[in-house]
Symmetry: C2
Subunit: 348 residues, 2 copies
């Protein structure tokens, strides 16, 4: 990567901020030579810290922000009291064209609310959704919504499908991604009214995606479809259940190897393989939820991010900035406009 890309970083968001933000920026900068950063936060603290990151000094600019949004603040409260916050000012840098994208490990609800208010939605999209990657048997899938919208109607799910497909085309490079709608069974008659209605709408053959139909929870890690669409409640629970199960499995493997002298020796011999496995499953390499549907790039890093995890989220924002995923989504909406308003389509 040689093209110059400027990203706005919320330096005060996340459990280990601001230190891990500078660490993450340093790691990301080594991978993408064209990256430059605007660091939003307490200028005194950031200036002092920056001395410890010589590789960053001429690639990062500190922008002072008075306020830091707390992790447990209500979004409405953050909107009211956070006009001078590091998060808000970083998002505004994207709106004003000073940066191509924003990355924050702070309060998810606040980031969503502020991104929506400041950046506005793309035409035809009602609400932003959080999209992320899942490692699968076949490689990687995109799943959304991972927690932005705890209640969704059929229109929302259809919009998520279109956004997710555009995202998969851009980031995974799949020309016509397959999209599955998460349900409790694959049969037509299963599920609640919302998923049934969404499936009916997604069966229109003029959509810029391949609708696979209903899928079940086990299809997510199987990689049955390139894109998994669900409401934010189910998606969040599924994501965290998978993370927890991987952790449980890892603990069981470790315990199994400690069982006998033979197995301990086996572990030593296989340590290279186990290390590779650990790396493959490292959640820090899958970090970064993209707020899709906005007129600008906004990436959420895990609240517990360390430098390595934050660097992954920065890398994701940089990829999106180069590929202009927003333009793709808008283009798709123009191409088959009206799906979000099924009643209109029936009347005309």
């Amino acid at each position: 990567v040689s093209a110059e890309i400027v990203l706005a970083l919320d330096a005060m968001g996340g459990d280990h901020a601001p230190d891990m933000v500078l660490k993450g920026a340093t790691i990301a900068r080594e991978r993408h030579s064209g990256l430059r950063f605007l660091l939003f936060g307490d200028s005194g603290r950031l200036g002092a810290l920056l001395v410890q990151y010589p590789g960053l000094r001429d690639r990062a600019e500190v922008r002072h922000a008075e306020v830091a949004i707390a992790a447990d603040e209500r979004p409405s409260q953050a909107l009211r009291r956070g006009r001078q916050s590091s998060m808000r000012l970083a998002i505004e840098a994207v709106r004003d064209g000073a940066a191509s994208g924003v990355v924050s490990a702070g309060n998810t609800g606040a980031l969503m609310a502020m991104s929506k208010v400041v950046l506005k939605m793309l035409p035809g999209i009602d609400r932003p959704a959080i999209a992320g990657f899942f490692p699968t048997m076949r490689g990687e899938s995109v799943m959304l919504d991972l927690g932005a919208n705890v209640e969704c109607d059929a229109d929302n799910l259809v919009q998520f499908a279109v956004m997710g497909a555009a995202f998969a085309r851009t980031v995974l490079g799949i020309p016509r991604p397959t999209v599955g709608l998460l349900n409790v069974g694959e049969e037509e008659l299963k599920g609640n009214d919302v998923v049934k209605e969404a499936a009916r709408m997604l069966r229109r053959d003029d959509l810029p995606l391949e609708f696979f139909g209903f899928i079940e929870g086990n299809d997510i890690p199987m990689g049955t479809t390139d894109v998994v669409v669900t409401d934010g409640f189910t998606g969040n629970v599924a994501l965290k259940t998978a993370e927890g199960t991987a952790k449980l499995f890892g603990a069981f493997v470790s315990a199994a190897f400690r069982r006998s002298m033979f197995s301990r020796l086996g572990m030593v011999l296989a340590s290279g393989a186990l290390q590779a496995l650990k790396q493959r499953l490292d959640p820090r390499l899958h970090n970064g939820g993209v707020l899709l549907g906005l007129n600008g790039i906004s990436v959420k890093s895990h609240g517990a991010s360390d430098g390595a995890a934050f660097a992954t989220a920065i890398g994701l924002a940089a990829d999106l900035a180069m590929d202009d995923v927003g333009a793709r989504i808008t283009e798709d909406y123009h191409r088959f406009g009206g799906i979000a308003e099924p009643r209109q389509a029936v009347v005309s």
Copy 2:
């Protein structure tokens, strides 16, 4: 186990029925010496098959049923056309006192609908829920609903909590089980209206359970609470996501070990440990969903069950029959009656 227990088996339900039903009964019989079976299904076929299972012949009695419910049949259709089905007649054997419980690997929706119609609900419970076990860091947890009710209100979730706690007391032997309500975050303000209202109701201090509060997806495999309560849509997705993730992880481990000569040798040395791990995670050992809230014991075995899996489900039904979990749930409801009708409680 020496006490005599009779179970009714739907011998025609499941992908591998009736063969695996007889296999499962044979395995279960070796573990519980007091077990006897009523086998419902095609008497010609079952009689011929039974010859191959000499250990079962004097412990099992064939009861002819004309009809077998198909896996994709609608519950309403199964109710109408299935009066002479193996499933229905097996459930009726429980109602009539000929058997202490029924086990089926057939159509879940049909089993639920028929069990509800034939056995009726316990006083105070509106709908049956499917409960099952999860392996966790701390041992095992109970989770419900695993797919019976795709849409739930707060009353339903509270009833699930009480039933799940009674179930955990009976089967896991925990005097005062902790109950967690699955949500997208632990904070009070997160989630949809249904879980918020259910949490408010569960905070009453006269309930026969320890309400932990909200938990997230990763808390399920962590074993944060003894009981996990959620609606059937989310519960089904979470269960299947966990199953699929365990399978994905297993495939990754196998692939890692095949990477080099060293790691292959390591695998040979650790084969005992890996075998033990495989057994620990064997889904067949966690098979069996209990339809809670009914006036009788009805256990759902996985549709793809083999003999080993079906034997686990039979064992579960036998345990429940001995412990009389229904009486426990009813007793709990009497002890704190009225939780299911919060409006009444407010008026009086």
